[in-house]
């Protein structure tokens, strides 16, 4: 393994652990993560109502007479955003490129996450036997793959320009 690969992984896991500890810290969890998750529940509930599902949103729970989902950590896209943050922070690039990558990547992750919540609700309401598989494995992996895919595209794009700027 090359030295820069080792360095990338050390930085990646270091940033990942630091970011995790930050979001797991009660004040950050209560004042940032929980309101953020509530906003995701509200927007996903609005999407479901827009497609004719009569749902109500209370705190982080979306429910109707058919089914209910409670959005927790692990379902709010924060896990994919942490992977994205750690990989972008560990990759050598300018702060501007990192900022742009993080912003765009977070938007991609959250758009996908809204689709995840809507489809999981619909699966739970109309095909409950499939809910567990899609909740546990399918959507979780799709969101993480999207974050990694975004990072790879971003890194392939910023690496040559970074080298050109230095030359």
């Amino acid at each position: 393994m090359q030295r820069n690969q080792v360095l990338f992984l050390v930085k990646f896991f270091g940033v990942l652990l630091a970011a995790y500890l930050l979001i797991a810290w009660s004040p950050v969890n209560d004042h940032v993560i929980v309101p953020f998750t509530r906003a995701i529940a509200t927007s996903s509930g609005a999407l479901l109502n827009a497609i004719g599902q009569k749902v109500t949103v209370q705190d982080t729970t979306i429910s109707s007479s058919r089914f209910g989902v409670n959005i927790n950590n692990g379902c709010n896209g924060v896990e994919a955003m942490l992977i994205l943050l750690a990989s972008i922070a560990a990759f050598p690039a300018s702060m501007r490129a990192r900022g742009a990558g993080l912003l765009l990547g977070a938007i991609v992750v959250q758009v996908l996450n809204a689709i995840r919540i809507v489809t999981l609700y619909l699966l739970g309401a109309y095909h409950p036997r499939l809910f567990d598989l899609f909740h546990t494995a399918v959507w979780q992996i799709v969101i993480i793959l999207a974050a990694i895919g975004f990072f790879l595209l971003w890194s392939a794009r910023v690496a040559p320009s970074r080298l050109a700027n230095r030359a």
Partner: protein
């Protein structure tokens, strides 16, 4: 998006579906292997050796201890929640331009072995997080608040992000760099060094 990237996307989707199918089919057998590995590892550090992990037919592993009250309910853990990052690993290795090259297959197999070891560790952390916090008075008597924090945080960290990060890191280490998706960056860095 260039045409080559659509091909990569198709390979990733194929790898994802293949990984998902294999994971679903092999989970009952794989759960037994991981439970046996976790039980054997935990017993190395126990005096007396009391932990028993018994896979059930419902994809749950029952956590039992020889010193538990026989009348008390045994906790269950869904091992599949700790092992589905196999699907992520398969999809990532499938992204290679030559997914069936010796180097890619070799890297994938080595990664699978390492990933299985992390599944054993993940299971131990899950069991410990039950011991320290979820068994009422028994937990309070046998473990400290510090134990509860350490095992609780370790378990949550593994489940929330570490299990994905491990799969990503294994792919990053063992992928074939010549055919991986981030090859342009590596090539540019090499050119710069030569200059």
């Amino acid at each position: 998006m260039p045409q080559a990237d659509w091909r990569t996307a198709l390979r990733v989707i194929a790898g994802f579906l293949a990984g998902l199918a294999i994971w679903i089919l092999l989970t009952p057998l794989y759960d037994r292997v991981i439970a046996a590995g976790a039980q054997a590892t935990m017993r190395l550090f126990e005096k007396p050796k009391v932990t028993r992990l018994e896979p059930g037919a419902d994809q749950y592993v029952t956590v039992d201890r020889a010193d538990f009250d026989p009348r008390s309910k045994r906790p269950d853990i869904p091992l599949r929640d700790l092992t589905f990052n196999i699907v992520l690993l398969t999809a990532l290795f499938a992204a290679s331009k030559r997914p069936f090259s010796d180097r890619n297959i070799g890297g994938f197999l080595i990664s699978l072995v390492v990933l299985a070891l992390t599944h054993v560790l993940g299971t131990i952390v899950e069991v410990m997080s039950i011991y320290v916090a979820k068994l009422g008075m028994w937990s309070t008597v046998h473990y400290t608040a510090f134990d509860r924090n350490v095992w609780g945080v370790a378990n949550h960290f593994y489940r929330l992000v570490l299990m994905y990060a491990i799969a990503f890191a294994l792919w990053w280490i063992f992928r074939d760099p010549a055919t991986a998706a981030a090859a342009p960056a590596a090539k540019a860095a090499k050119k710069k060094k030569k200059r």
